[in-house]
Symmetry: C3
Subunit: 181 residues, 3 copies
């Protein structure tokens, strides 16, 4: 069973790994953790409590917490989109929290609209076009040119979870072919 | 050379990464670390000090510390099978340590019996059957549908070491084929 | 933009993950972080500030900080080659810092000489031989036999970043073939 304490522990240990902090406001933090818990119960995965989850894992993948956008957002704005994860200076009150613009590409948001169970925008589910059909989400093997970390995703992460290299360091693996350039 | 201090440092940093603690009883902890050290010297890898190691890496893989079962055991019972790793509330004495049942599947334990060098059960090594022959341990490429982490194992981990997704999030990679569902 | 604070934060969180410490001398530490920052600006990646970077990622890959040699050096000598990362006992002043010999293989250093933009050794760039041409750097898929971690590199890491197994635990993946031995 998912409990708020389990969700909190996971977020805390993840924050520690990356040198982040959880939001210092206990009430605000608890609301976010409750949101994660209820999304995990609804969808089977902790989709971002501040965005519209579709219930389709392939479509929501980039907004499962910690979302794909957390690392560049904390680096640039001092907090993730939700302000669940914050930078040290923000945690210590040295830098005020600033609004974090949505970094998720519009195409990915659009994919979610058609299938979201609680979509506030559309009452009837439209026929998915080829562009939005989850089956069209092609995954590839990528590797980090800095440390060699391998992932199987639609596109590479913003930050390598192992060596913290930037997204630009990831290239596709073509097996059996010399990768060096 | 393996020293108890090196074993301790590795366990400490691993506990920190996952938000766990090492057993608060110094004598008990030292005994476990000594057990890990002697297994590492005997086998070349730190097999669990509370289970029967076979000396065959392929057969013991799931019980190399931190074993495959640690994460679900700490989550459910507050401690791993050995009680080397414990949850915060157990570490702080708020929750008593409870007995942790063996989560390792019987088939995997059975594979170890036939080949264990110090097996208390069998004096003569039986001819391995097809089911227990390490050559029959088929490994596959798995990926975490949440973060894309890739592993090459017989079966996926209970917890994704990168994003902490549950085992159910792992599916096999079939290269060159659309993975989305 | 890269700032010394970002470089410091990345190094701090990485040290924490592995149970290391950053050099306790603030002036010395700052110089190293400045060196990393300027290498990141020059090359696009934080090459080791204590070694000759070539500006060619494939050739410098093993000396991008945290370099491939950090883990065995901290384990054996208490500090990495630069003394950016130190062991707890060194950090606490219980063990003096000792000189750390260069662990990088001569072949890899030699590859860098021919192409280094600021090479103090050669004024004219020699024609690269087959042995030093980056195109000859063959990468392979390796996996950790202990935890299943997969990397795509010329050779495996000294320490598995997931389970901390030693380099000897890594073997090449041959897909579609039984890997067990």
């Amino acid at each position: 069973m998912t409990t708020v304490d389990k969700v909190r522990q996971r977020a805390e240990s993840d924050a520690r790994t990356y040198g982040y902090y959880l939001n210092p406001d206990p009430k605000f933090l608890r609301d976010l953790l409750e949101g994660l818990k209820s999304n995990e119960e609804r969808f089977g995965y902790p989709a971002c409590p501040c965005r519209l989850g579709s219930g389709n894992l392939e479509i929501d993948r980039d907004i499962i917490c910690p979302c794909d956008y957390r690392d560049p957002d904390v680096a640039e704005f001092g907090a993730c989109f939700c302000a669940l994860y914050v930078r040290k200076d923000v945690y210590e009150g040295k830098t005020p929290v600033q609004p974090v613009p949505e970094r998720r590409p519009v195409e990915k948001e659009t994919r979610a609209y058609g299938v979201a169970p609680t979509s506030p925008v559309q009452k009837t589910k439209p026929t998915l076009t080829a562009a939005t059909r989850p089956a069209e989400i092609k995954k590839k093997l990528w590797y980090c040119r800095q440390c060699g970390y391998v992932v199987f995703r639609e596109d590479p992460p913003y930050l390598c979870p192992i060596c913290k290299a930037k997204r630009e360091m990831f290239v596709q693996i073509t097996l059996g072919v010399d990768e060096a350039r």
